[in-house]
């Protein structure tokens, strides 16, 4: 007696019975394919980020010098102690703090204000946004160079304009106070658009019905801003502030081009100081410890900040 013939065909069984497509290796499962596609990126990440970071961590406990060569001798926490107790480092930390607070505050206020004004426009919003974004697209070195010319006390366009208004020359880059202010202004010119962009995204995402309800209740403009706009945009704005603060904390390029850390060392930031330790004296061990400490500061502050953000969201 022959086996009964099924009346219907089970597509799954038919499919499983189909031989694999020619050319496809039986070893390359989906998981294998995933590994094959992600491993180049992972290897690159390991080679260019993780391994150097671990190596720098190791070097930070040694007296290794990249140019002098020789074996790296273990010095324990010597490098870390020296950095944390150094008056020079404290001075650079203070300069960096003033710079970060000054630049990020100014950028946040201006960026949000510009975004708020743009969001209220119905015509030309796209064009305005694009125009405001131009500074952000330029290389910091290019920005530094042309601001250096513009701020030149003798030949710069800024002093020329001040002169035409009957005001005296200002030594923008060669006096202690004005040099740091100049750095903050140039950084603000370049990075305010970043805050503006994020704030604009937040502002456009605020549901319109909230404003409509407020209008029905005859709420004032200030009341609407304080109770609807700001609370809804605030978390997004804080993330933008976080990114900018991290960027500003590791400022190097503008200092290098505009002031070289001067006058004296009054505009030397922590990053600029690390560069000098690393490449003038080639004290690689100390520079590695310095870099690790800077990373730690950023990680700790970011964690605290993120916790605050999470609380804000929960609230």
């Amino acid at each position: 007696m022959s086996a009964p013939v099924p009346l219907t065909t089970d597509p799954g069984r038919v499919a499983s019975a189909t031989p694999p497509a020619p050319g496809r290796s039986r070893r390359l499962s989906d998981r294998g394919l995933a590994v094959a596609f992600t491993s180049p990126a992972l290897l690159l990440l390991l080679a260019m980020s993780v391994f150097p970071l671990l190596w720098a961590l190791y070097l930070s406990f040694t007296d290794y010098s990249a140019t002098r060569g020789g074996a790296a001798h273990f010095v324990g926490f010597g490098n870390y102690t020296a950095i944390l107790t150094s008056a020079q480092v404290h001075q650079r930390a203070l300069t960096t703090l003033i710079y970060v607070v000054g630049a990020v505050t100014l950028q946040t206020v201006l960026g949000f204000a510009i975004a708020y004004l743009i969001s209220r426009r119905t015509h030309g919003r796209g064009l305005l946004t694009t125009l405001f974004l131009v500074p952000m697209m330029l290389s910091p070195v290019v920005v530094g160079l042309f601001w250096r010319f513009m701020l030149d006390a003798q030949f710069g366009v800024i002093n020329s304009m001040l002169g035409s208004l009957g005001l005296g020359q200002v030594e923008w880059l060669t006096r202690q106070r004005t040099a740091l202010v100049s750095l903050i202004v140039v950084d603000t010119w370049q990075w305010t658009p970043f805050i503006m962009l994020i704030a604009l995204a937040g502002l456009t995402a605020v549901p319109k019905y909230l404003y409509e309800a407020a209008s029905i209740d005859r709420a004032s403009e200030w009341f609407r801003f304080r109770t609807i706009t700001l609370p809804l945009v605030w978390p997004l704005l804080l993330i933008a502030v976080l990114f900018r603060a991290i960027e500003a904390f590791r400022l190097f390029d503008l200092v290098y081009i505009l002031t070289s850390g001067g006058p004296g060392v009054s505009t030397e930031t922590l990053s600029f100081h690390v560069y000098k330790v690393a490449f003038l004296g080639f004290n690689t061990g100390t520079a590695s410890a310095y870099g690790i400490l800077m990373v730690l500061v950023v990680i700790v502050l970011t964690q605290l900040y993120l916790r605050y953000l999470n609380k804000l969201k929960e609230g």
């Binding site: 260019m48 980020s49 391994f51 150097p52 970071l53 190596w55 720098a56 070097l59 007296d63 290794y64 990249a66 140019t67 002098r68 060569g69 020789g70 074996a71 790296a72 001798h73 010095v75 926490f77 010597g78 490098n79 102690t81 020296a82 950095i83 480092v89 006390a153 003798q154 030949f155 020359q169 030594e171 923008w172 060669t174 006096r175 202690q176 290098y256 002031t259 070289s260 850390g261 001067g262 006058p263 004296g264 060392v265 009054s266 690390v274 560069y275 000098k276 330790v277 690393a278 490449f279 003038l280 004296g281 080639f282 004290n283 690689t284 061990g285 100390t286 520079a287 590695s288 870099g291």
Partner: protein, 454 residues
């Protein structure tokens, strides 16, 4: 950047268990040269002599070695030291000949980055053709005493471009005769500034990058009888900031600085040249090798022809005061220890060729500053530029800075502090005392465990 650099260097550089590296020796005679096409690469900073060298070498050296092409790679002046020494740190260079400042030699020799040329020089170079101090300044390590050469010391380089400061003065504003003493120069500049509103009395290097402000202070220090250090005892504190050093700082900050243009506290070579070319300075100081552009009518408002400009501009040796010292500038050629053997051989051949009497004169005619005495006194050199006589006259008066492995840090300390004093960020006395203290700490910190470099 730091992470990648440390990884590259740390992975490639370990293994010799802390023993001090020493420069490998170049062969005493030039090995057989390749007949294949070869590019001989230099590294220098971007300024007119770098371009002049590439043009000159490709025009002249190719006559003897048609298969060789000369490439002078340039970087901004502020990156010059880093560009060379980060490659040295990686034990791999994309240049065959490093053009080092005289003060970089110690660092490169101690780290074993350049070849020891002592035997090569003995066999191939006529050392008697040079002022001994010039030969020593661009090649000898340990550093020679000012004005001398230690014939028993090793040589690691040969002169490429001599240089010193020239005083550039406006003949139409202060007269044909340049001031002879430093005090006279200051009073002449003061009067010129008062008589000509809009024109500053002085223009000189004040920036805190490279060696700008440091060379300015060191020059005034030398003229007023000061010393940078006691090389034998490696003592800076108490030497640099002695009475002569304090007087020099006082002259620089309180007498010279008020005669400069407002906002000139970050000026270096280009800015000083621009002030002169635009007729904004009565008296200026600049490196001779960077002064050629001042005679270009396209760059100047002082005249429409070179002759018209020269009617207004004069070039003179620096005024003297308690001494007649002038700063030693210029650079030497040094063979990278990491260059391929064929390129090292070509580099040695190039250096031997370059130091020949006839080539030195041609180099002078092409706008270079030679080092051989016969070339310095030749009409080819003396007639090539109005400032060349200044260089020849200045050679016996030269003084260099410290040629030690810690040079980069020493000069940074001096630059930042002098710049701070010039721009009102520090009192002159405090700045000088800080320089002495911090530099002494750098020299004394070689045995320190941890925290080096801060």
């Amino acid at each position: 950047m730091l992470l990648v650099a440390t990884t590259l260097t740390a992975c490639g550089g370990g293994g010799d268990d802390g023993t001090k590296a020493s420069a490998p020796k170049a062969p005493a005679t030039i090995p057989e040269l390749t007949k294949d096409p070869l590019t001989l690469s230099f590294i220098w900073f971007d300024w007119p002599p770098a371009h002049a060298l590439e043009d000159f070498a490709n025009a002249e050296y190719k006559k003897e070695r048609p298969n060789a092409t000369i490439k002078v790679n340039t970087v901004p002046n502020a990156n010059w030291h880093d560009a060379m020494f980060t490659q040295f740190a990686a034990r791999k260079t994309d240049f065959d000949i490093a053009i080092l400042d005289s003060q970089h030699i110690g660092e490169a020799v101690t780290n074993g980055n350049i070849l020891d040329l002592t035997d090569f020089v003995k066999n191939n170079i006529d050392v008697n053709a040079y002022n001994p101090y010039l030969l020593a300044a661009y090649g000898q390590f340990p550093q020679a005493e000012t004005g001398k050469r230690d014939e028993n010391a090793s040589l690691y380089g040969l002169p490429l471009l001599g240089d010193t400061w020239t005083m550039i003065y406006r003949k139409d504003l202060i007269g044909d005769k340049p001031p002879q003493t430093w005090d006279e120069m200051i009073s002449v500049a003061e009067k010129c500034q008062a008589d000509h509103p809009g024109v500053s009395g002085l223009a000189f290097h004040q920036a805190n990058g490279s060696d700008a402000a440091a060379v300015t202070y060191n020059t005034v220090n030398g003229v007023y009888g000061g010393n940078l250090w006691d090389a034998k005892t490696r003592k800076i504190e108490g030497v640099l900031n002695d009475a002569a050093g304090q007087e020099a700082m006082d002259v620089l900050v309180n007498k010279m600085k008020p005669l400069t243009a407002k906002g000139s506290g970050n000026w270096f070579i280009d800015e000083v040249n621009a002030a002169v070319a635009q007729g904004k300075a009565c008296i200026a100081f600049n490196w001779i090798a960077a002064s050629g552009g001042l005679l270009d009518p396209k760059e100047s408002t002082l005249g429409t022809t070179r002759e018209q400009i020269l009617d207004k501009l004069g070039f003179a040796t620096l005024p003297s005061q308690k001494t007649n010292l002038v700063p030693l500038g210029g650079m030497g050629m040094h063979v990278s220890a990491y260059s391929p053997t064929a390129n090292q051989a070509e580099a040695l051949n190039f250096m031997k060729w370059f130091e020949r009497a006839d080539i030195q004169k041609k180099w002078a005619a092409a706008g270079g500053v030679p080092s051989r005495t016969d070339a310095l006194e030749s009409p080819e050199f003396l007639n090539a530029g109005p400032f060349n006589q200044v260089y020849t006259d200045s050679v016996p008066r030269m003084r260099d800075m410290w040629n030690v492995p810690e040079y980069a840090r020493l000069v940074d300390i001096e630059n930042t502090n002098v710049n701070a004093a010039l721009n009102g960020a520090k009192k002159p006395k405090d700045a000088l005392d800080d320089i002495a203290k911090e530099q002494q700490a750098v020299l004394d910190s070689s045995s320190r465990k941890g925290g080096g470099g801060l």
